[in-house]
Symmetry: C2
Subunit: 354 residues, 2 copies
Amino acid sequence: MDLDERKRKILQAIIRNYLETGEPVGSRTISKYTDLNLSSATIRNEMSDLEELGYIIQPHTSAGRIPSDKGYRLYVDQMMLEKEEQLNQATQEVKEMQRMLLDREDKMEAVLKQMARMLAANTNYATMISAPQVRGNKLKFIQLSRVDARQLLTTIVVEGNVIKNDMISVEQMLDDETLLKLNILLNTNLNGLPIEEINLAMIARLKQQAGIHAGIIAEVMDAVAAVIKDGEHVEIYTSGANNIFKYPELADNQRASELITTFEEKQLLSELVQDTLTDESGTGIQVYIGSETPVKTMKDCSVVTATYELEEGMKGTIGIIGPRRMDYDRVISTLKTLKSQLDTIYKKDDGRSG
Amino acid sequence: MDLDERKRKILQAIIRNYLETGEPVGSRTISKYTDLNLSSATIRNEMSDLEELGYIIQPHTSAGRIPSDKGYRLYVDQMMLEKEEQLNQATQEVKEMQRMLLDREDKMEAVLKQMARMLAANTNYATMISAPQVRGNKLKFIQLSRVDARQLLTTIVVEGNVIKNDMISVEQMLDDETLLKLNILLNTNLNGLPIEEINLAMIARLKQQAGIHAGIIAEVMDAVAAVIKDGEHVEIYTSGANNIFKYPELADNQRASELITTFEEKQLLSELVQDTLTDESGTGIQVYIGSETPVKTMKDCSVVTATYELEEGMKGTIGIIGPRRMDYDRVISTLKTLKSQLDTIYKKDDGRSG
DNA sequence: TATTAGCACTCCATCGTAATGAGTGCTAAT
DNA sequence: ATTAGCACTCATTACGATGGAGTGCTAATA
């Protein structure tokens, strides 16, 4: 099962070469490419073995070999370690991202979009970033205000500072006193409450207490329900989908169309996000090779993801989607740096290192 | 300049046929396709004339003819009218959209996204919808609330019910009285004010009156500024980008990549939105053929747009992007119906007919 | 005079046939 | 165990032949 040193070196050389060229690589190439000083014939024998072991594949007789998923897997699991440190210098682009995050405005959305864009431009792969998932579930603040004679505004804030507004139309103007009463009613009953504890019985009770204004309470509660629902919905930003056209193996109509659809219907990517958030391997970096990815339209791609963590325990995922012959070293290194930047910037207590 | 009846019929037949098949159409086909009972030789002569007049093009000698942009233009301007009524029956899909709009929730975003998706599925073209542009510019409501000891919440509502929230962190808790004072300060000065009348001098005055709480005022004013900025930013939703792969003339890597980028960087489409909003031809429907479109990456596409109008004079654009040989009849008819639905549903006073 | 039949010509698309060349597997020699 | 050498495979490319769709032109026709 375990490969001897020579086979490993040859496999590594094959993969490296293939990552660069995208063409099947032959024995003669390896014979020169490595420092093993072996003839092409010897390499051929070894390659034959490697193929039998399932690490490489021959697209057809009399073609060179290309790595199989198993081969790639071995490469990212073991062979890349030797290189890992080398690329760790923070590149200029990463610094720029850091700057962006530091003077981030209120709008996280804009920052994440821009980050996805930069990553895509930087790596030449497609990228996705999921907004940090809201874990907080306590109602922190709830208020009814009068905007004009016929319109009330509900403002709801949930732990984690997710804010939701809702306009409510009323037939006739509420006087200040009634408004105050309703606000007190809402606050005494709901403030500080975990949202899962809000049930039908409670809503019924509130409505009863509100008397003729039960309708307003109903609308407020609808808005609260909407907050909960919003929380489950993961916002995902993508960029650089057009990069897939740079890799012929992904650019045929069939595949391209599927991939573009996947990027457009971003919810298809939420499966991926879920997967990364559960399966923590410790480093926070995951590599999905070919059919390993949970999104089936990406079976011809490789996906590298990093999970980042912001204040208040909110987690998100950054993903890079490219061809199987992705520059794993570079991508992983970039994501590691980026992840550690994010973890650092927002950290409260950072146990393990980045 | 003006074509005689026979030439018109022939041109129409050529275009119809080309729209169906996507292949250059020859004289023999037309000879049979029309009810003119002319031999192919006669048709050839006429086609030769039509080419000289610039309505059709020969991709190469000994190929049939395809319509030029000028030809398409004539078709949509004049020849389609004869068909117009025919397709006006509201299809099932349009009805479904109407239903969606009627029980629309607060979230216009979701409705528009879904509408774009349905249109795309329905037409087999790519679609875009711009959210109605906010014209309202009066501050309707502004309020500071305490969420917890260190956090204040600003809520701002602008005419047209655009709502903006902003969290403000404070070093130490503000007592109720101070909060009330600040709220009165903000309201007396800002409520009902057109936002363009808010200038530096006024901000300075507010800050001065706020005394040691000038910082809070500054942050509130930043949030107000953000509302203004948000208003300028047009939200655009797209769907069905993958449909371009159904049309070989758009599906080559070069073009596809450009188009996908355009759909991804939606802001590139805002030019189109601007164009449609200014150039009102009366019907609210615009047709851009090939290079006529303001977005240069779409020079090989045709774009049909409809501007719709919601309550409070907010306008948006619906666009359908497909190949030059688009089914103009169907698309225009669909958009007309959809537009009239939208105009009707939200209408306050609808002068002209739909 | 307008239309049509007929014909030569053009040019794209398709197909089979080399020719090329990269790469392999195997065998025999080192 | 390694390597040189050789026959063999097969994708790719180039090339010419063929076929067919379609045109333009000319001469015949109504």
